[in-house]
């Protein structure tokens, strides 16, 4: 003879979710963890590994010891002597010519202009 033990009824789970809902919940949790971890590791990376270092260098951060600077950006007196390997030459510096000169002309011309081919 078998006896069936009848205990107390099993309590209903607090989160009554379907299998699909559980999967969605898990995916969201993993995504949040991933994003959190990415931000954490990203800020821990050295500055040189991040994008935009070139811009920062141009904005003057390159003056810190150990950073790099363009030779032509240094004052002439502070430029170190560079010994080039045999057969090498220095390329001409970046073209930073001045803007064209501006001259004053009689203002009577402002009242009447001319269009033409040029």
């Amino acid at each position: 003879m078998t006896t069936e033990r009848r205990g107390e009824p099993r309590p209903k789970p607090r989160l009554d979710l379907s299998a699909l809902e559980w999967r969605l919940l898990l995916t969201v949790a993993l995504a949040i963890t991933y994003v959190f971890a990415w931000f954490e590791f990203r800020t821990a990376l050295p500055a040189s590994a991040l994008r935009g270092t070139a811009e920062r260098r141009n904005q003057g951060e390159a003056t810190a010891p150990g950073s790099s600077v363009w030779l032509t950006d240094l004052p002439p007196g502070e430029r170190p002597a560079v010994e080039l390997p045999a057969g090498w030459t220095l390329a001409s510096p970046v073209n930073r010519e001045l803007a064209p000169a501006v001259v004053r002309v009689p203002s009577t011309r402002a009242a009447r202009l001319r269009t033409r081919s040029s």
Partner: protein
């Protein structure tokens, strides 16, 4: 009013309501804009970005400014049915236009046969901001970039103000005295005369004609407005096309297109464009005013202004 020399032309800058010191300061900033533009877009500077792009093989990542200009060129290429085509740079080189123009400097006895090229063959990759230019395709953004630079420079000026780069000009406001900017349209047969005078406000103007920039190859006369259909200097029944438009960039592109199209088709083409007007000059000297803007604007037969100016209006004043 201040002047400077850039893009092989005289650039005038005027902001009549500013003090002389402030006007000079604005003119200096305008000079910087032109210098920057030439560094990127000049076809005649070996180290400009355009020259490097024209010399490169394979795909090249370009500056944001270059990419924006090329994308705009693509828009104009479509708008004009391919008549505005920066790929005619190769034809200009073949005909000897390989340095800044000076009278007589480009004359030669023979020229190479230009290789057929189309701007449609140039691939612009927006995602990587890179350009793929097939071998033999040389780009020339000349007039469009001049107009573009004038537009950029004009944004530095208060109203009323004007930036005029050898005929490509932007007019802000209604001139020094509030009655509009008077603009003479040069007679292509005699530079000392004008065929019409426009009274303009808040718009731009550009003129296209072969009368100044031409040279000789053997016995043939060459000029700088190349028809991309033939890859030869355009054989137009127009002597000159002047276009009034909201921007100098658009005015320059449309003026060149109108010249290539010739009188009849140019008329139909410009009539379709909103807020665009044109002054077409035929070789015999006949002057035709075309475009919706001309009809919508006020037409006066003198110098007096009968009605108050509206935004983006312009009017024509015929010479007696």
């Amino acid at each position: 009013m201040f002047a400077l020399r850039a893009m092989n032309t005289d650039v005038l800058v005027a902001a009549p309501l500013l003090s002389e010191v402030d006007e000079e300061s604005v003119a200096r900033r305008v000079a910087d804009v032109f210098a920057s533009s030439e560094r990127i877009f000049s076809r005649f500077r070996p180290n400009s970005e355009l020259s490097l792009l024209n010399a490169a093989t394979g795909q090249v990542t370009v500056s944001a400014e270059m990419f924006a200009a090329l994308r705009r060129a693509r828009t104009y290429n479509a708008l004009t049915g391919g008549l505005f085509d920066p790929a005619v740079g190769g034809a200009l080189l073949a005909f000897g236009y390989d340095r800044s123009f000076a009278p007589g400097a480009l004359d030669r006895e023979s020229a190479k046969t230009p290789r057929r090229a189309s701007f449609g063959d140039v691939v612009l990759d927006r995602r990587t901001r890179s350009v793929f230019r097939p071998r033999g395709v040389h780009l020339d953004l000349g007039g469009m970039v001049k107009g573009r630079t004038v537009d950029r420079a004009a944004r530095l000026l208060p109203s009323p103000g004007v930036v005029d780069a050898g005929g490509d000009a932007v007019f802000l406001g209604a001139g020094p005295d509030g009655t509009g900017w008077l603009v003479d349209v040069e007679d292509p047969r005699d530079a000392s005369r004008s065929v019409a005078t426009l009274r303009l406000c808040d718009c731009a103007v550009a003129t296209s004609a072969p009368n100044r920039r031409h040279w000789r190859v053997g016995t043939a006369r060459m000029h700088h407005i190349v028809d991309p259909r033939s890859h030869r200097p355009a054989e137009s029944d127009l002597a000159q096309a002047t276009v009034i438009a909201p921007t100098a960039e658009l005015a320059d592109v449309l003026a060149k297109t109108a010249f290539i199209l010739g009188a009849r088709l140019a008329r139909a083409f410009l009539e379709r464009m909103p807020r665009v007007g044109g002054v077409l000059v035929l070789p015999a000297g006949e002057v035709q005013m075309v475009g919706k803007a001309m009809k919508e604007g006020f037409v006066v037969k003198g110098s007096a202004c009968a009605a108050p100016f509206r935004q983006n209006c312009f009017m024509e004043v015929w010479h007696a």
